[in-house]
């Protein structure tokens, strides 16, 4: 950041800073910004950023307070898109090293934690909101490297994530088409290579993609009201489609393969190498395998463009795909179905029907007659009265369990992650410890389902808690252990053998830079209050705060892990580690509220 821009920031911050000084601590301002929202204090800004980013740093809080919500959103909408594929290309072409799925993981963390990017040092990854929405979309329109056909295709998956990021603020119709034609999806749900009927061989079009695009990516199984509640007829739910419709779409989705594929090679057009353009280019039609002789039954709903939802035979693969995606896109379920899941990923597991209806209304029409404008949808989700104040209305149930992978992303924002050469991991990448990694779900049904309800109090209350599905007895041990391993041993100056070799840090391993936090650690309450703001939006209870301060005032062990032998006892280091570990594994932190 240049000096002049820095001053400009300060200048804009001044009124807000002065304003806060005049208010008693904790009193929320009733004053309004020009955009109609009340003045932000540090806590309310941090809380918003907890929903819209991978965690608020002090400079993020300052920026938001300076701009206000609307201008901050506009800035995020305009920020350049961070792309994973470029990072993989750099490793292959410049470093001439192997690229596997863990390199995709590196890129994800560089973007989410805004780490230094060695593939393009001038790049600063400022598209936090885009990356968070893309991650949310990756849990709705799922492809996964757990699938054997994609395990060794890191470029395909990186480019798929990039596709979600590019479309995060675009139109849902475009997103749906880009997802449909991506070769990663084509392989994952076997639309790639799908072919028309062959009565001699008793071959029928594959129904896999047809079923999942309807059930999971767009409309769901049951007809929904605008507010996301199911339409009931005689007390029963009403299906959105049946087997005839699945069959219709399956016939539409025939004749698609990798680019550069020919009729003769149709059954085997896969390129020889994972970095070849076939894996990152939209699939292309091979008309000889497209069904152009049967009428296709597509969805039927009020106002459907196709008469009785019937697509009359004769169109080519592209024409029919367009018609079918239009048919899905205009179904009234899409707004509430997708809107509610995005709310769940960003804000709260149990939005009120009215909140869902407000978001779905914006999906249906962004105010300028455009349907499916995701920029407007994201804005509506984050600026909704319920997103901003729901925790005051229903303080004991509002919010969501944090996703495990985001906890490491957050930690590298709280204590900056740095490595000597900019790489993120040598051997220490996340494996199964979190039960979750980007684009690595066990199946198309994601890591967790939107309606999972944790047995016990949550389920008895009729609420859902999707992320609890992976908070298994196992993960509740392995995730704290993995995070603890990194907090206790992966820090600048550590002599731990995994990060320190031959008298120097291992260049590829990302270490926590605790220097700023250690300055605060001389005063345990100051350290806790700071971490409370950037990790918990200032919502830590006095009970927890007192426990932590007592802990930090306790006695360190004789040997702090990773310290060189004979070094003087580094009490500030130990305090920072204890505070981070205890907060990141506490019930209070783990519920984003």
């Amino acid at each position: 950041m240049s000096i002049s821009r820095h001053f400009a920031n300060l200048w804009h911050r001044l009124p807000a800073m002065l304003f806060c000084l005049l208010l008693p601590l904790g009193a929320s301002s009733q004053s309004l910004f020009a955009d109609g929202f009340e003045e932000l204090n540090d806590k309310s800004a941090a809380r918003f950023l907890d929903q819209a980013t991978f965690g608020p740093r002090l400079q993020d809080i300052a920026r938001l307070r300076q701009l206000g919500y609307q201008a901050w959103l506009d800035e995020q909408f305009a920020a350049p898109t961070s792309l994973q594929k470029a990072y993989l290309d750099w490793i292959r072409l410049t470093l001439q090293q192997g690229v596997y799925q863990s390199q995709r993981q590196e890129a994800w963390f560089i973007h989410a934690s805004q780490l230094y990017n060695p593939s393009n040092p001038l790049l600063t990854h400022n598209d936090q909101l885009r990356q968070r929405v893309a991650f949310a979309l990756s849990e709705i329109m799922v492809v996964s490297d757990k699938n054997a056909a994609l395990l060794f295709q890191p470029w395909a998956l990186a480019d798929y994530h990039d596709t979600l990021a590019r479309n995060a603020f675009g139109n849902f119709r475009t997103l749906l088409e880009d997802v449909t034609l991506h070769p990663a999806m084509g392989r994952f749900l076997s639309m790639l290579g799908n072919r028309k009927n062959d009565p001699v061989l008793n071959i029928r079009p594959d129904e896999n993609y047809a079923r999942e695009i309807l059930q999971l990516f767009s409309i769901g199984l049951d007809q929904l009201n605008l507010d996301g509640t199911p339409v009931l007829v005689g007390g029963n739910r009403v299906p959105t489609y049946g087997q005839d419709h699945v069959r219709g779409f399956a016939h539409v989705f025939t004749g698609w393969n990798f680019i550069n594929c020919t009729v003769a090679q149709y059954s085997d057009c896969a390129p020889g190498n994972p970095y070849e353009e076939e894996w990152t280019s939209p699939m292309a039609p091979v008309e000889a395998f497209h069904d152009n002789t049967t009428n296709k039954q597509l969805l039927v709903y009020p106002g459907v463009a196709l008469p009785n939802g019937l697509l009359i035979a004769g169109g080519n693969a592209t024409q029919e795909l367009d018609a079918a995606l239009d048919n899905i896109f205009n179904h009234p379920n899409v707004g509430p179905f997708i809107g509610e899941q995005l709310i769940q990923r960003l804000v709260t597991s149990n939005p009120s029907p009215a909140y869902v209806a407000r978001v779905a209304t914006v999906f249906n029409n962004n105010g300028q007659g455009v349907r499916g404008d995701l920029k407007a949808v994201v804005r509506a989700i984050l600026l909704d009265e319920e997103a901003r104040h729901g925790h005051e209305g229903v303080p004991t149930t509002f919010g969501k369990l944090r996703e495990p992978i985001t906890k490491l992303a957050l930690l590298w924002r709280v204590a900056p992650g740095i490595s000597i050469n900019g790489r993120v991991f040598r051997w220490s990448h996340v494996r199964d410890e979190f039960g979750q990694l980007p684009l690595s779900a066990p199946s198309v049904f994601n890591f967790f389902k939107p309606d999972f309800a944790q047995p016990g109090e949550i389920r008895d209350a009729g609420l859902v808690s999707p992320e609890f599905q992976i908070a298994t007895d196992t993960q509740l041990v392995t995730a704290p252990n993995y995070l603890g391993w990194r907090i206790m041993l992966f820090y600048v100056g550590s002599r731990y053998s995994v990060v320190w070799e031959n008298g120097a840090p291992v260049p590829e391993e990302t270490l926590f830079d605790y220097s700023a936090l250690k300055l605060l650690a001389a005063d345990p309450p100051a350290l806790i209050d700071h971490l409370n703001l950037v990790m918990m939006s200032g919502r830590m209870t006095p009970f927890m705060r007192n426990l932590l301060i007592t802990r930090l005032n306790g006695t360190p062990p004789d040997n702090i892990p990773g310290q060189p032998s004979g070094a003087p006892q580094d009490v500030p280091l130990w305090r920072v580690q204890q505070a981070l570990y205890l907060i990141v594994n506490s019930p209070e932190f783990n519920i984003q509220k």
């Binding site: 008793n202 129904e207 047995p455 949550i458 008895d460 808690s465 007895d473 062990p557 209070e588």
Partner: protein, 472 residues
Amino acid sequence: MNFNRREFLRRSIHSALGGATLFSALGNLQLMAAAAKAGNGGIFPDYKALVCIFLNGGNDSFNTIVPFDATHYGIYQATRPAMAINQAAVAALALTPQPVQPGLPGGPPSDGASYGLHPSMPELRALFNNQHAAIVANVGPLLGPITQAQYQNGSHPAPPQLFSHDDQANFWQTSRPDDANANGWGGRIADLLFDGNPNQQLPMTMSLSSQSLFQRGASIDQYVMSANGVETIDYLGTYQNQLGAQTFNALIADGVQAHMFERAYARATRRSIATYQMLQAALNPLPTWTTPFPNNSLGAQLRQVANLINVRGPTGLNMRRQIFYVSLGGFDTHDDQLLTHSGILATLSQAMHAFHQATVQMGIASQVTTFTASDFGRTLSTNGDGTDHGWGGHHFVMGGAVRGGRFYGSMPSLLQNGNPDDAGYGQIIPTTGVDPYAATLARWFGVDNAGLADIFPALGLYPSADLGFIAG
């Protein structure tokens, strides 16, 4: 069908946890179930375990159990020209079924064909031919028996959203296609019988393969553990960290969280700790198995199940009834089926064999019954190099109590055209419901008639509530 009643039951059970189960219908059933157990204050006198192997993705059982006599192979080959297993390879793994016993179900396949197993399954073939395993034909979720005509003209209800993975897998695991909120039938058995275990802290239901709907209960929550052993929270055992451990425990203590989700998170963490402490103590040292388990995920899961069963006694986990859930993935063979299916069926066959041998080694083969389940069978028709989501499919049951070496139920036709079992596009209409399949296992496990009626409310719609594949 009766959401309010299920909801009521769930609430009453939950509120009664740790207290009296007064006035709750299931509470009464639990009392009755307890009374039905011989002596010991409702504690089961013997040990039994049910092991569910879920084949994720929908196993193509029509390529798992294949006819090889000329007539039936000809039909099969004509229907699946692009996907047929080699005739001689199937014949090499021929199944030799036991003759019918008068008055008892089971015997040679109903269609008179000669069947063999997929060439990658020699171990399972030996288990069948040695009468340690049986085949239950064409099982799938139903709302009572249904004919082709009834299905096609809609005159009899069928489960909603057939052919969808999620839904059919759910139906298999709940056996309640009529109730989207139902618990799993393994979990419902545990709700009913949990007080038959001397150890009340360890759940009757354990999953080696993440949260399973099959084991979700109203009052009993499955324990999910890793196949690779018991991992403990490092921080709590760190040297000179007593105050740290105290702080960690104080933050997750009962009664200190204001937010419902925080309480749930704290409760889950406490439970995880209490259970791993118990398991860690019990599982040390580990036994040596004379038949090695295959070195893959299913092998590791079943080895861990064997390890757990091995310490069932009073000096170990002190359990008398346990239900285990393991799974094997990759069965959604839309692509490259001939290649991928071979590998996973080999894994299944080898792992089941090793597990059975472990139960023999422990001397409790007749007290452990293993069964397969899957999302669905696959379509008879193919998509060129794979098959699509179907409905009914064949399944294996294994154990010393199983009346093995027999086929149970009706083998479907494999005809491409004019097939009386075809729902319309090569999806085979099940002739045996999940209800009687599951009820047969549950009855053996110790659920009485009243309990069966509660767990499987549609059971009365079927000609028999007991398929007879377990002795006694």
